[in-house]
């Protein structure tokens, strides 16, 4: 096979509704972003408006903001469980939790990021000092390493990852925008189906190989962003 025929087989470009339709009820979905920064808002909107998908487990640092991003999905009753590190900035999450409408698995931010990275790298779990001797460490497996107590953390994987990048080439190589990178490259490695929302899709060869953050083998489909930030 010649290089040119290789580059013709790019990542499919889906419209947002078709991409959202690939997420089944009850799926575990990783969603990139730090608050709304670097969140795939077009895909989240499509999930909300073009599907009735429900009982989702969302793995994301936060659950959006009140009525924005994943916060909208929560208000529509689509989210059953959230796995993340910081939910207190969205009062809707606190209310849903207190009313028993939402399960929450709270994980320190660094442990969350590493659990996703490990999940994508074929690692079953790891030990970290973070959280030992705190309420979040209660009941967890412990191990002393180099004289210091560590907690066991199983790695995380998902059925689907929705990530946000600045640009893709037609193969699906991704580059990001500043701090909108955050969890996106980690999540792009850790799901069975990875859909990347991007501002633009450029020809193969237009991205400098030194600058590609997520190589195309991780990316299954591309969606053009509606531009929301």
């Amino acid at each position: 096979m010649t290089p040119s025929s290789l580059t013709e087989r790019g990542a499919p470009v889906l419209d947002p509704a078709a991409a959202a339709a690939r997420i089944p009820d009850g799926a575990t979905v990783m969603v990139g972003g730090f608050g709304l920064v670097g969140a795939p808002l077009t895909l989240i909107d499509a999930l909300l408006t073009a599907t009735a998908t429900r009982d989702l487990t969302i793995v994301s640092n936060n659950l959006g903001e009140p009525g924005r991003g994943l916060g909208k999905l929560l208000l529509e009753g689509r989210v059953r469980k959230a796995v993340g590190s910081y939910f207190t900035s969205n009062p809707d999450v606190v209310a849903a939790y207190q009313e028993g409408r939402l399960e929450i698995d709270l994980v320190p931010q660094g442990t969350l990021a590493e659990a996703i990275r490990a999940g994508g790298a074929g690692i079953g779990g790891f030990y970290t000092r973070t959280g030992w001797g705190t309420d979040l460490g209660e009941g967890r497996e412990e191990r002393v390493i180099r004289g210091e107590p560590h907690l066991y953390q199983e790695s995380l994987r998902a059925d689907v990852a929705l990530v946000r990048a600045r640009a893709a080439d037609a193969l699906g190589n991704l580059v990001y925008a500043k701090t909108a990178r955050n969890f996106n490259p980690d999540m792009a490695t850790a799901a069975d189906l990875v859909i990347a929302e991007v501002d633009e899709i450029v020809p193969v060869g237009a991205l400098d190989p030194e600058e590609i953050v997520t190589p195309h083998l991780f990316v299954d489909a591309l969606v053009l962003s509606g531009g929301a930030r």
């Binding site: 640092n61 939910f87 660094g110 973070t130 925008a177 996106n184």
Partner: protein, 215 residues
């Protein structure tokens, strides 16, 4: 200058020139305004080393924020990275100083800063990682809570953030170092007496302020 700014300014001497520093949300964020230009490389856990000043009005970039989700700029020489790399830096001991806020500090220098009893525990962020991973941890906090009750207490009634003790506690009244498992008063703000600090502190501490008269 506000009390918060007074505290932030008092943190500056604890930051070595050229150090890599992570500033927590709240008073720690203000430390940036008091650092001499380029005195430190600021790291923010959402993926930036080389945080620059707050942008001018109308010049904010929605893709460029610090961990408090406020707009920032990137200095020349800055780099962006993924969350797992950022926390690798933090847990791996590559960040020299973390400046953190605290709700309470106990007599051994351990802090509580992530959860309040009676409220649902729904946020921890990077606090636990910074506390175990940074080589030096400086706490920047008001000496007492809003209701006037001491924040420096014998035992924390709020859940601890880690078993690791911090290294320095800076308030508007005083600076403590944590040494040999206990608090040592090493500096008083201008016009503040040891007695005044004692009256507003609910944990024992040793006094090693050269000029202080220990009543």
């Amino acid at each position: 200058m506000s009390v918060q700014d007074v505290i932030a300014a008092r943190v500056v001497p604890h930051i070595p020139p050229g150090a890599v520093v992570n500033l927590g949300i709240g008073i720690p964020t203000l430390v940036a305004d008091h650092l001499p230009e380029h005195a430190a490389h600021l790291q923010t856990e959402n993926g930036l080393l080389g945080v620059g000043p707050t942008p001018l009005p109308g010049e904010a970039d929605p893709d460029l924020v610090h961990a408090g989700k406020k707009p920032v700029t990137a200095r020349p020489g800055a780099s962006f990275f993924a969350s797992s790399d950022s926390f690798g830096m933090i847990r791996g001991g590559h960040v020299e100083v973390a400046v953190l806020g605290a709700l309470q500090i106990d007599a051994r220098g351990r802090i509580a800063n992530w959860s309040v009893p009676g409220k649902p525990v729904l946020g921890v962020g990077g606090a636990m990682d910074l506390l175990v991973g940074a080589r030096t941890v400086v706490v920047a906090t008001t000496h007492t809570a809003k209701d006037g009750s001491p924040k420096i207490v014998e035992e924390c009634s709020y859940p601890l953030t880690a078993q690791r003790a911090v290294d320095v506690v800076v308030t508007e009244l005083a600076t403590f170092r944590v040494r040999d498992g206990g608090l040592v008063l090493v500096d008083l703000a201008e016009g503040v007496t040891v007695d005044e600090v004692r009256a507003r502190t609910a944990a024992p501490f040793r006094v090693e302020v050269p000029e202080a008269v220990d009543a």
